[in-house]
């Protein structure tokens, strides 16, 4: 276990160093973007910004400084946003976790349920129906789905808000605020959930049908175990491993994986912060978000492995 944690930390530092180099390989820098936006610039302006952003030092010095700071949990300062990177990320974290967490739970719940239903009724119209729906959502681009959701439920029907985190200027508190946020959450969370739901449904169905052919299931059936119990205890439990693997990947990408959804629904999360930072070459902020994303991926990798051992006691955590 300790080895795994140490390996994880080493991986994160390595990712930080590689990211640093990759980000610098992109053309342009934050100074050229800022100067470009100002509509006018001269040598003095550019030099002043370069000094302020510490871009006038050798790149190796910058990399060493950066890694040193990361080791001390200091993510640096975003000169563009004029705030510490950690503060910017922490501010956006709740919104992103709320969105991706809800989407995660929804997609897992509905995906596995629909998949199990589909497997149980394999070959019937229920199975075909679920398969068709799942494939449609799987194949539809997220961006298009999100825009259609806004056009239908916000612009045409006016049922649900399509933009932002809560009603701006409403001055709500307590439960009223929670309800307001929940209403704003519905469209983005559902949009984001549909894609993964389709994947979970397909995967659960396939795995369950495979497991159902195995000898121990036949044995259980021969022993006279009730069909419902066979399905839950024997088939589903053994079919869940690939689903857990995929869930682990989805969970690891929860922080940065919602760029499109956050953009369309103007959801103030990390994905957008990362995307803006990329376009503006806001190096320290971009690296900060990459680092947090990488840390989440490593963490969920570890958690996934732990969950395996719980679901299937035959698996042991390598030390």
């Amino acid at each position: 276990m300790l080895t795994r944690v140490l390996q994880g930390l080493a991986a994160i530092l390595l990712i930080a160093a590689v990211n640093f180099v990759l980000v610098r390989a992109a053309p342009g820098d934050p100074v050229s973007v800022l100067a470009g936006e100002a509509g006018a610039s001269d040598a003095q302006f550019v030099a002043q910004l370069r000094t302020q952003f510490e871009l006038d030092r050798p790149i190796t010095t910058q990399l060493a400084n950066y890694l040193g700071r990361v080791a001390r949990f200091d993510l640096g300062y975003s000169y563009r946003q004029q705030q510490p990177v950690l503060k910017l990320i922490v501010e956006r974290l709740p919104a992103t976790l709320l969105l991706t967490g809800s989407a995660f739970a929804l997609s897992l719940l509905f995906g596995v349920t629909l998949g199990a239903l589909s497997a149980r009724r394999a070959g019937t119209w229920v199975d075909s129906g679920i398969t068709v729906v799942a494939l449609v959502f799987y194949a539809t681009p997220l961006y298009w789905l999100a825009l259609m959701a806004v056009l239908i439920f916000t612009v045409q029907l006016d049922w649900l808000p399509g933009f932002g985190f809560s009603t701006v200027g409403a001055g709500l508190r307590g439960w009223a605020l929670a309800a307001d946020i929940a209403r704003h959450l519905v469209l983005p969370a559902l949009t984001l959930a549909l894609f993964y739901m389709a994947v979970y449904a397909r995967m659960t169905r396939a795995a369950m049908l495979e497991v159902a052919q195995m000898d121990f299931v036949k044995t259980a059936r021969a022993k006279g175990v009730r069909p419902g119990r066979i399905l839950r205890a024997h088939v589903l439990r053994n079919a869940l491993l690939p689903v857990i693997t995929l869930a682990g990947i989805q969970a690891g990408g929860m922080i940065g994986g919602a760029v499109l959804t956050e953009t369309v629904f103007a959801w103030p999360g990390i994905g957008r912060l990362m995307f803006d930072a990329l376009l503006q070459r806001d190096y320290s902020l971009l690296l900060g978000t990459f680092l947090v994303t990488a840390a989440m991926a490593v963490l969920f990798n570890l958690l996934t492995d732990l969950v395996y051992t719980v679901v299937d006691p035959r698996i042991e955590l390598a030390s």
Binding site: L34, G39, D42, V150, F163, V168, G269, D276, Q280
Partner: protein, 522 residues
């Protein structure tokens, strides 16, 4: 008529108009209410002395003020200065300041603030003003309400450099003796304007509230303005359609959506409020390299491009063909007495043959500002192909575009530039030899150099007499249109979309970049 007589405005003028809007209209506006606007992209900061990009100006124009404002003909109007005079030679300008003006923190605004803002703060941080103030020898406070600018030589456009984005007034008592760029007060901007910053939820919205101590009675009319951050263009269109926002600035939704949204019930549209900026679009032509170093090659490009189609198809009518280096909204523009380049593929082919163009493939750099610019580039590429010029598009994002222009790493490249009302302020920088320097996408990026043009722009800037300037700039336009350093494409008429229940949202030549002090909600 002598210019110096013209600019001897008195306090009597202030009685007639306020913020450029006749007083009876202001009085008719209802007090109270909220305006929901779109801002795109989210500004990096609201301290106008440090950040001057579009979104910052749109919001901070409500917080800060300049000494003067300008109407749609770029005629100066009083703001923090109530009157101004100059000596006969045009080398000494004296401004009388409005008494009783307070900063948002309650401290009085005085001549010391003006001297500090212009001479100390902005000379350090504001690249454009630094260039505009090159002619200024000294700035002095004669008394708490009088400021004197002494010039080294007459500077023709001098009275045009006092708008809020060009020279915002900043509080000396907060910034004096500090490091301006890192002063924590930058997060809580203090101005004299009609609105104050209330709250900025990063990634969501910026809220301004009415300044109840504003120096004009009963102004502003609305209680609060929200600027919503909505990062996707299609979502911004949907936000206007669904009624979440009432005000969408030019360029924030794609032009094919603008026409549709403007036809919705209760929606309205204006293209006013960009006269001072006069956005002018062209194709940079890298004059340093063959075949672009040939005048005939560049003339061929001018003939090949179908400006009418670009304006009609890509810009849905929100652009108009450019006739030359000067935007028609700026002073001394002349389209009658200069060479013209109507679309003529045969003429283009003939010029290309004479220029000795051998069919080399040229790299064209589009402006990565969304769908409209992508379509513009497609049309131009098609036009040039018809004339026989081979084009390869370079894909890039905004940072890469800046970088390539900064480094002169292009053959043909799209851009648009503000011209700020006067050729000496917004045109000269793109054609004079002194402005050939790497590191800026707004100077003489094409590398054109002509001593006669340098001389003319210099003479035009240092001349105070408008009639003489007119003659100088006519000659300038003639030469530029003969030599075609870049291929001028179109003037942008940015459409502002709003709900008809709003009135007076545009009250001057800088439009939404000015304050919404006179705007009201029915």
């Amino acid at each position: 008529m002598k210019r110096r007589n013209l600019i001897q405005w008195g306090a009597s003028a202030t009685g007639l108009t306020l913020a450029g809007v006749p007083l009876h209209l202001l009085a008719a506006g209802k007090k109270g209410g909220v305006i929901n606007a779109v801002v795109q992209p989210e500004p990096p900061g609201l301290m106008l002395g440090i950040t001057q990009n579009g979104p910052t100006q749109m919001i901070a124009g409500n917080i800060y003020e300049g000494l003067l404002r300008y109407d749609e003909n770029i005629t100066p109007m009083p703001s923090l200065a109530t009157s101004w005079t100059s000596n006969k030679e045009g080398t000494v300008y004296t401004f009388k300041l409005k008494p009783g003006v307070l900063w948002h923190d309650g401290k009085p605004f005085t001549a010391d603030d003006v001297v500090f803002s212009a001479d100390v703060f902005l000379r350090k941080t504001h690249a454009r003003l630094r260039a505009n103030l090159a002619a200024v020898e000294s700035i002095k406070a004669l008394d708490p309400l009088t400021v004197e600018f002494r010039l080294k030589y007459p500077f023709g456009p001098f009275i045009g450099i006092f708008e809020v984005g060009s020279m915002p007034m900043l509080p000396k008592h907060i910034y004096d003796g500090t490091d301006f760029l890192t002063n924590p007060a930058n997060a809580t901007p203090i101005g004299t304007g009609p609105f104050k910053l209330k709250e900025w939820v990063k990634g969501s919205y910026i809220q301004l509230v009415a300044n109840d101590k504003y120096h004009v009675k009963d102004v502003p009319l609305v209680d609060s303005i929200y600027f919503h951050v909505i990062p996707d263009a299609a979502s911004r269109a949907a936000a206007f359609e669904s009624g979440k926002v009432d005000l969408v600035p030019g360029g924030a939704v794609e032009y094919f959506d603008v026409q549709r949204l403007a036809k919705l019930p209760g929606a309205a549209l204006t293209t006013k409020g960009w006269e001072f900026f006069a956005p002018h679009a062209w194709l940079w032509i890298n004059n340093r390299k063959a075949p672009m170093n040939q005048v005939k090659f560049r003339q061929a490009v001018m003939h090949a491009v179908d400006r009418e189609a670009i304006c009609k198809v890509a810009w849905q009518g929100f652009a108009k063909p450019a006739t030359g280096p000067f935007n028609s909204h700026i002073k001394f523009h002349n389209s009658a007495d200069v060479a013209k380049y109507p679309r003529n593929i045969d003429a283009a082919k003939k010029l290309l043959a004479e220029a000795g163009y051998k069919g080399e493939t040229l790299r064209m750099l589009p402006l990565p500002y969304g769908e409209t610019w992508a379509r513009t580039a497609e049309i131009v590429r098609q036009n040039l192909l018809q004339a026989g010029i081979k084009i390869e598009m370079t894909a890039t994002d905004v940072a890469g575009w800046n970088q390539k222009l900064n480094e002169w790493d292009y053959d043909l490249a799209f851009t648009y530039v503000y011209q700020y009302g006067d050729p000496a302020l917004g045109v000269a920088r793109n054609y004079t030899s002194a402005n050939i320097a790497k590191g800026s996408p707004f100077n003489n990026v094409e590398g054109y150099s002509n001593p006669k043009i340098d001389e003319l722009f210099d003479a035009g800037a240092k001349e105070a007499d408008p009639d003489k300037r007119k003659a100088i700039y006519l000659q300038t336009q003639k030469i530029l249109l003969d030599e075609v350093p870049v291929a001028w494409l179109f003037e942008i008429n940015f459409p502002t979309l709003y709900r008809a229940k709003l009135s007076n949202i545009v009250s001057s030549g800088i439009g939404l970049n000015d304050s919404l002090s006179g705007a009201s909600v029915a």
